[in-house]
Symmetry: C2
């Protein structure tokens, strides 16, 4: 295993130590829980706090989205594994200003269970927490069961927009309402070309045969919609774009914010090759790209693949997206 | 070859098309040369223009550093191959405001030859161009022959700081002077764990055996200082940090801007694991990190490895680094 690790069982703690050192201008480690990192100015007076959490291995998610006009805190789990309820709870308690906490996370059984427990525990401490789960992965359940879908690389759009909403002085219910609007209007699809290796395991826990691709692969290697022969980039891009545009039922004159995220080891050059065709398909629907983010936004260790996420925006969501922010994973000025 | 490509011979043109679409808010394609991209507002009135260029495969370098208070134009070469003189020339001519052009690029024989030719051709068109070559790679030549060293991931520091200098109204000579100061104070070292694959070749053009690492590998797989047994991350990080700190002759109370760049396929988690130890070593020298950038800044397709770059800064360089900028690869607010 050709990797930069010390003890493979301690990669998460080692990573967090490096992360808080690298970004000490904006981020601090919780004093109470070594698996919680927070915005250095949190709690921000009279502001609804925004918290998320999830398994590690998806860097820069989740912890890279903590910062100014971004997340207030993140609960950090083991690789591809939910943080414990206690980590979510400690994150809530550390950053609540008295205005309540919005916990905005991706739909996975472990995360949902732990967040629900943490929300109840927080109630005992008189901290009000409401939550919204992202369900952007169109490959993980049919449209009729959208609530069962997983959350993947669309998450940063929810965090960015809801953090801005909170910074503008919105109430907890208003932030939750905005989060639901974002979730309702976000769709994602991944394509995997090669699997990833969890350091403590030392070999891939799923396979993608050379010469094939997994259309709709999940962020932890979950089986996708179909295994196909590896196609030229333009055909892959076309299939990705049509899948999300059709599922979202995009209409002429809709406007989108687009994220094309590296799943890990894909050369950045190839993301742009994909994007050339993605934009063509979006245009062919009469839909306009408002902003496009291309790079590593939510990854899966060293998985070779890409995730296309689209968010349909109205003027209010555009204004919230454009509000300046500063965090390790995304700066807008 | 598990890659997102159309025709492997046309990856650069396909990439540029996607790039200018994704970043049309800030970047435009040259009308005259399909291998030149430029800042949409260039030429900026009364400003010295900053241009670079180099082979593709290093994305987000070079073209991702074009933008506001950043580069005015970039000449784009084939994968791992210098742009032709004509591309540099067209970049110069497209963005010169009459105040002259600073061409700031990495030291490789092909790039240097083409830039020199382009500078002469520009003179015939009454456009004054001066150039500085980055020589940050300590592994590529001994210290006594620093002028022979290659330019690697330290480049973005020169571009950021000199672009800010130009935006503040400096003359061409002042910008060139600043570039020289940056080059004199920048050092980089790479460690490679696995090679990369050029799409048109289809297999690695060099090898790194499993269980070993190439200390000092170049950005195109150039042989490094030594091949060693693969060590724990903390030992690799220690060796990387000591190499650059000693070569720069860092003294107590020096301040550094640090870039730890992914060479391509390394999980972001592992960059932070390396950084934890890098920061410890820097601190042990009595030196302070002013800012740290961790992520994909200059890559080599899908090479598995990391590049540590350090720049010793004084108050003037810090002020220039902190000037707000906006480009696809780096936003500072």
């Amino acid at each position: 295993m050709q990797r930069f690790v010390n003890n493979p069982d301690f990669v998460v703690d080692d990573m967090i130590k490096g992360f808080v050192k690298a970004h000490s201008d904006i981020i601090v480690h919780s004093n109470k829980n070594k698996r919680v990192v927070k915005y250095k100015n949190a709690p921000v007076k009279d502001k609804v706090s925004i918290v998320t959490g999830g398994g590690s291995g998806h860097e820069p998610a989740f912890l890279g989205y903590v910062g100014e006009n971004m997340l207030d805190a993140v609960a950090v789990g083991e690789v591809f594994s939910s943080p414990p309820a206690k980590a979510f709870l400690d994150a809530f308690l550390e950053v609540d200003s008295g205005k309540g906490v919005a916990c905005l996370f991706g739909n996975y059984a472990g995360d949902t269970m732990n967040v629900k427990m943490a929300v109840n525990m927080a109630e005992d401490e008189d901290v009000l927490v409401k939550y919204v789960v992202a369900t952007d992965d169109v490959a993980s359940a049919p449209k009729e069961e959208k609530h069962k879908r997983h959350g993947i690389a669309g998450g940063p759009l929810m965090w960015k927009i809801c953090s801005a909403k909170a910074s503008k002085g919105a109430s907890l219910d208003e932030v939750i309402e905005t989060a639901k609007q974002v979730v309702d209007n976000t769709r994602s699809i991944c394509v995997g070309l090669s699997p990833c290796v969890i350091p403590a395991v030392g070999k891939p826990n799923f396979t993608i045969e050379d010469g094939t691709m997994e259309f709709g692969v999940g962020h932890h290697g979950e089986t996708g919609i179909k295994v196909e022969e590896l196609k030229p980039a333009c055909e892959i891009a076309k299939e990705m774009a049509k899948t999300v545009l059709d599922d979202l039922e995009c209409n002429k004159d809709d406007e989108l914010i687009v994220i094309l995220s590296n799943l890990g080891s894909t050369p950045i050059m190839e993301l742009y090759i994909l994007y050339d065709e993605i934009e063509k398909i979006i245009s062919s629907y009469g839909v306009k790209v408002y902003k496009a983010l291309i790079g590593s936004y939510v990854t899966s260790l060293d998985m070779n693949g890409a995730c296309l996420s689209i968010l349909r925006v109205d003027d209010k969501l555009k204004e919230l997206f454009d509000m300046p922010c500063y965090c390790p994973a995304l700066t807008i000025n």
